[in-house]
């Protein structure tokens, strides 16, 4: 049975919709990420679930009950704020204990659960430290422990890792995922970092300007983006203009001097996006595009190419398999499989 259901959730500030009729179903124990560029309404969505922002319309059901009818203090959700929002006048242990105190958990059990949870996030040694005397990563883990210790029905994380440096962020990602697996709490993570979303989540909700562009498993969304926007936001992509015409009853897209059979229905002028690692060099073929190598950069396990073509610059990534690769200035032909193309109406260039 579906655990958390958002239905037609909408929030308007004035006449601008921050979140526009969002539908989402989250299963128990699932890890879902809300991914999108800045200002697309991720925080607003999370705050509506938490109860700090009132939806203009729509409904939120948790375990079959109307969540909007419950006060924020009674919802029993664990929240990690972007700024951590730790209580500066309390030690780490006191911070974590606060939620249990509010629930009226007896002192003995309280202190036991606090030390268990602090151990879970690897902070057992810093229980008596004040937040000001902790590093960003440590503060973040206190915030996580504070949210987890109350055994929340849902864990809401608002860009919890964005203040950390790259190395610490990676460590925390692994830790977060492990903790979530151990505890099994249903989790909703807000992030604008596509790598983070793909690494952590069971499913990704890609948002743009308050609307959902795609909901799917990370691999699915990456391989089969529903729109050029999703393709551009999840990883790198090449955006190429194409003209679609009917040849012998089948749709064919002309891109530069090459043409590809189209897997999907389309007509007229469209844009096609192709991921750099899906493009290969070929000597001569029907489905290929002519170009010259402008730059070639060696990056250890792969080569990064910029190719000048009739359709503009195309980025190509090739595995370093120890073969000879085209040099700068060489004339090449680029090819890719028809199913590697994402077709969308012209004018949507998928860039952010």
């Amino acid at each position: 049975m579906s655990f958390l259901v958002l239905e037609g959730l909408t929030k308007r500030f004035g006449d601008q919709a921050a979140v526009d009729s969002l539908d989402l179903v989250v299963e128990q124990g699932e890890f879902v990420s809300l991914l999108g560029p800045s200002g697309c309404g991720k925080t607003t969505t999370l705050q509506m679930i938490a109860g700090f922002v009132e939806p203009t319309s729509g409904s939120i059901l948790l375990d079959g009950r109307d969540l909007l009818a419950i006060k924020p203090s009674q919802r029993g959700l664990g929240i990690v704020f972007q700024s951590y929002a730790l209580f500066p006048h309390m030690t780490a242990a006191e911070n974590v204990a606060f939620g249990l105190e509010m629930q009226g958990v007896p002192r003995a059990e309280r202190s036991q659960r606090v030390s268990e949870t602090l151990a879970l996030v690897g902070l057992a040694a810093l229980a008596d430290r004040y937040p000001r005397r902790m590093s960003g990563g440590q503060q973040q883990r206190v915030a996580l422990a504070r949210a987890l210790v109350i055994r929340p029905r849902i864990l809401l994380l608002d860009e919890p890792l964005s203040n950390l440096d790259a190395k610490l962020r990676e460590e925390m990602q692994i830790e977060l995922r492990q903790i979530q697996r151990t505890v099994g709490t249903t989790t909703i993570l807000v992030t604008h970092d596509q790598a983070e979303a793909m690494a952590l989540s069971d499913r990704i909700v890609v948002m743009n300007k308050g609307r959902v562009e795609q909901i799917g498993r990370p691999h699915e969304a990456y391989e089969k983006p529903a729109s050029a926007f999703v393709a551009g936001f999840l990883g790198k992509t090449n955006v190429l203009p194409a003209a679609v015409e009917q040849r012998n009853g089948a749709a064919v897209a002309s891109i530069g001097d090459g043409s590809w059979p189209l897997p999907a229905e389309a007509s007229g002028r469209v844009t096609v996006s192709v991921r750099p690692e899906k493009i290969a060099f070929i000597d001569q073929a029907d489905c290929s595009l002519a170009g010259t190598v402008r730059t070639r950069i060696f990056q250890g396990n792969h080569w990064l190419y910029q190719i000048d073509t009739a359709c503009g610059l195309v980025t190509v990534i090739r595995q370093n398999a120890g073969e000879m690769m085209p040099a700068e200035g060489a004339a090449v032909r680029l090819t890719w499989r028809p199913q590697d193309m994402t077709v969308s109406p012209a004018g949507q260039d998928g860039r952010i």
């Binding site: 700090f52 924020p72 203090s73 700024s83 209580f87 509010m102 504070r146």
Partner: protein, 290 residues
Amino acid sequence: MTAVAVSRGWTPWLLAGPALLLFVGIVLVPLAMTVLLSFHDWGQYKGIEPVLILKNWREIIDDSYFHEMFARTLRISVLVTLIAALLGAPEAYILNRMKNPWKGIFLLVILGPLLISVVARTLGWALLFGGETGVVNKALLELGVIEAPLPFMFTETGIVVALSHVLMPFMVLSVWAALQRLDPQVENAATALGASHFTVLRRIVLPQVMPGVLSGGIIVFALAASAFATPAIIGGRRLKVAATLAYDEFLNTLNWPLGAAVAVLLLVALIVIIVGCNRLVERRYAQVFQ
């Protein structure tokens, strides 16, 4: 190289020089002279005699009139500080929660009086409550609510009320500044953990603005203890506090040495109390706010 090094060594002093001279000239020297003056002798007919005796100090220590006066000064200052904290802190909090046009308007209402002279503000209280002619007293008398005018002029209550009003903006400002440093999400975090409004206020907001309340308290206390205009107008010649007494000794009795002793004692007491409180605050909150 050495020339540069030498001039480097002197630069801070040269830069600070003018201000330092001014400070020494108009603060330290007169202060030292006042301290010296408090040890001089004085007589009705002989005037000030530049000798070093403890007569004035002994008089202050022995005479219960002075004890009473200093106790009154302390009592008034403590009460004013408490009232300012109890009213000013909630005032600042409410102000901070207001939405925008109102926030600005009410901030102006609260801070506006700072632009008006203390004398004018105190006279306002006198006009409202002064004897039978005060507007409020007159109205209440005519309505038959009270039989005799409310005692306000020449009472300690009157001084405390008027001083609290005069000094309130300092407390509000100080707490306001502390509230600005608060992360609003911290309150949300506590709410999400199940805390009620009141619990959030008591357990989360209050401890965080406490340093603001205490530093506001120190300002209000210092200003109340050394206040002159308000006690002079409301207390008149009957109800003296340290500042009005020192003034009287200097300008009416012309017993400058005794006035100097009162002033110096007030200064020393203030410094001791304020430094002591400050230490306490710093020690109590060092862990959290550094």
